[in-house]
């Protein structure tokens, strides 16, 4: 029994990320018992797990040991599902938010949620498992080709938190493009987002997945994306990081089926005191699999970025062809970019190439352009565009490419006066 004072206090204090809040959230959503249990199990894990250690390879240079969860209010459940045409519904395509999936597509949900990304991976996936608040389940039946990209918009309020989840299952020979957009206003109060993306491409399927992180300036984002490719499948991903105060993106492609292919593109541009940490994995677990990774980033002012990428080739994954490149261009002396490529190869017939560069904008280039009448900022813009050119050229969605070109231009031009505490 709570005493009167505690009850009054409850009314005036917003719910924090507590066990009680988990129960309350699940109540609000009127979830079945097994889901409540799962959430609480995840919360207990969250409680038990330590914050990741920066000494470990995966969180190297990203010290979150003093990350304070008490700053954030518990999430408000939202639903942001894209609309389907009648034609697609008739073909058996399923798009459901987490809540309705829990009622109408329980089997799909139980089969696919958290299968690729287990909740116990680290403290943030556990917290995500407890508070999942904006989940989407997309299932594309065999042979169905969806030619219009499906898009969802994620949002968070100042001081709040959100836990978006994207599960995409693309059955044999099916084709889909999915865009996750993370966008909010700039708030003075810090917000938290811990998102999980799980994508399964079955035999011969093609999935294009784009995540656009354009959060407001005081959001802390922990992203975990995992793609699993079965025989002869193609997964193309693009991970964009432009917004937020801090963003850590873990993007993993697991090639489980013979002949599967994964393209992994990354584009980031950090300014002011933004901090982006990126960890990629290209895991080759079957014969004749191909991965092609290109992550490119620009940094200005006092921003920081870390990239660490692992190519892992299992024993028996003969005929693997893996490529990994991380390139950084630094626009100010105070910005720091780190890049750490790693290889772990157990097969013997493989071709693996990797490379990393961190280089300043060449003053020589700027002078040459300026000597033709181009002002310094425009010259920088040309050079930075030139730098991002090969990534932009590989983005198949014209509107996304144009948006990014604009965002890059604004980043070069803009002087970030807004400093946020990290």
């Amino acid at each position: 029994m709570r005493n009167f004072l505690e009850q009054v206090k409850d009314q005036f204090t917003a719910d924090k990320l507590t066990r009680e809040s988990v129960v309350k959230l699940s109540d609000q959503l009127d979830e079945p018992g097994w889901l409540v249990e799962r959430r609480l199990g995840a919360f207990d894990l969250f409680d038990k797990l330590d914050l990741p250690d920066p000494k470990g390879e995966e969180w190297r240079y990203t010290d979150v040991r003093r990350f304070d969860f008490d700053r954030f209010e518990a999430p408000v459940p939202t639903s942001s599902t894209p609309a389907l045409t009648d034609d697609l519904v008739a073909k058996g395509v399923v798009v459901a938010d987490f809540n309705s999936a829990a009622r109408q597509h329980q089997d799909l949900l139980r089969e696919h949620f958290f299968t690729e990304v287990p909740v116990d991976e680290h403290k943030f996936t556990a917290l995500h498992g407890a508070f999942l608040s904006d989940g989407i389940l997309l299932y594309v039946p065999p042979g169905v080709e969806i030619d219009v990209p499906l898009e969802v918009w994620r949002n968070v309020e100042g001081g709040g938190s959100t836990f978006p989840h994207t599960t995409v299952v693309v059955d044999e020979q099916a084709v889909v493009t999915f865009v996750d957009r993370f966008k909010s206003d700039d708030y003075a109060a810090a917000s938290l987002c811990a998102s999980v993306v799980e994508i399964e491409a079955r035999r011969g399927a093609t999935v294009n997945y784009i995540s656009l992180q354009e959060w407001g300036r005081n959001v802390h984002h922990f992203q975990t994306q995992r793609f699993t490719g079965y025989r002869d499948s193609t997964v193309r991903s693009l991970a964009v990081n432009l917004g937020s105060a801090f963003s850590r993106a873990q993007v993993e492609s697991v090639l489980k089926g013979e002949g599967s292919f994964s393209e992994m593109l990354g584009l980031y541009f950090a300014d002011s005191n933004q901090h982006f940490a990126q960890r990629t994995l290209q895991s080759h677990d079957a014969e004749h699999t191909t991965s092609d990774l290109l992550y490119k980033g620009a940094l200005k002012e006092r921003s920081r970025s870390e990239y660490s990428g692992l190519i892992k080739v299992s024993k028996g994954a003969q005929g693997t062809d893996a490529y990994q490149a991380n390139r950084n261009i630094v626009l100010s002396e105070d910005a720091v970019a780190r890049s750490i490529p790693q290889l772990e190869i157990e097969a013997n017939e493989v071709r693996c190439t990797h490379g990393a560069t961190v280089a300043p904008v060449e003053e020589e280039h700027i002078f040459y352009l300026m000597s033709r009448g181009i002002d310094r900022v425009t010259a920088q813009k040309l050079v930075v565009f030139g730098f991002f050119g090969d990534v932009l050229d590989r983005i198949r969605l014209g509107n996304v490419r144009d948006e990014l070109a604009q965002a890059i231009a604004l980043k070069v031009e803009g002087e970030q006066s807004l400093e946020v505490a990290s």
Partner: protein, 267 residues
């Protein structure tokens, strides 16, 4: 007020604390072609760079008037907008930036009242390409990347044609070119010369001057113009080398030794 386009008065320039130009005086009027000849290390390229405002070149004395205004405080892009152009000795490679995009951006910056759309600019560019007989595919490549020496120099002339400067400084435009490329590049410069344009040809050898005839020839040695004259001065230099003139002009033993050293057996 004279109708001089460029007046360089007692110009002293230091690079990394070392005085390279030690009092250069030169006046260029509209429509004139001047050749500045000199041995290696005499300060020719320094003069070219200081006119365009390259960082790292510190003017310690003197002034440079362009159309009556001192330009030494202007940034490189502001000078270009006033009509000053440098054809680089070693044109810079700029990865990922196409020539056509670069040139349109530059054109629109230099001609704010005559902005050209991508389409209109393309047509304008094609006229210049035809005029200079340059392979069209060059402009869709990245600026100077993978260009041969000749292509780089042609690209410089194309840029000059596109921007239409009033004062063009050509820094060793002949260096590294075979005779065919030299003829081609020279023909381009001659097409762009005219009564409203002032041209400064910076060169070590007389060779270029057989194709672009200068009105005046100046000899730059040890950071000063030591002698000026007509075309016959270039011929004399070709025959006698730089040391003879240096001695005649009373250069110090030290400066002469430097010329000797840098020029090697050629003196």
């Amino acid at each position: 007020m004279t109708d001089a386009m460029l007046q360089i008065e007692d110009l002293h320039v230091e690079v990394e604390g070392r005085e390279i130009l030690r009092g250069v005086n030169l006046t260029i009027n509209k429509g004139e072609i001047h050749a500045i000849m000199g041995p290696n290390g005499s300060g020719k390229s320094t003069l070219a760079y200081v006119l365009t405002g390259r960082p790292g070149y510190e003017v310690t004395q003197g002034r440079v008037l362009y159309q009556g205004d001192d330009i030494l405080d202007l940034a490189p892009d502001e000078r270009a907008k006033k009509g000053i152009f440098l054809a680089f000795q070693y044109p810079t490679e700029v990865p990922g930036v196409s020539v056509v995009n670069f040139l349109r951006t530059a054109y629109n910056a230099v001609h704010p009242d005559e902005q050209k759309s991508a389409m209109a600019f393309r047509m304008y560019l094609q006229e210049k390409i035809d005029l200079l007989e340059i392979p069209t595919e060059l402009v869709d490549r990245y600026v100077n990347q993978g260009f041969s020496g000749g292509e780089k120099k042609r690209n410089e002339i194309l840029q000059m044609a596109v921007l239409g400067p009033q004062l063009a400084v050509m820094d060793e435009t002949d260096s590294g070119l075979d005779i065919d490329a030299l003829k081609h590049v020279s023909a381009g410069v001659n097409k762009l010369a005219g009564p409203d344009v002032g041209i400064v040809l910076i060169t070590h050898y007389q060779r270029l001057l057989n194709y672009i005839r200068p009105h005046y020839v100046h000899v730059l040695m040890a950071g000063r113009i030591v002698k000026s004259g007509g075309f016959e001065l270039a011929e004399r230099l070709e025959a006698e080398g730089y040391a003879g003139i240096g001695k005649e002009m009373g250069l110090s033993e030290e400066d002469l030794a430097e010329v000797q050293d840098k020029e090697g057996a050629k003196v």
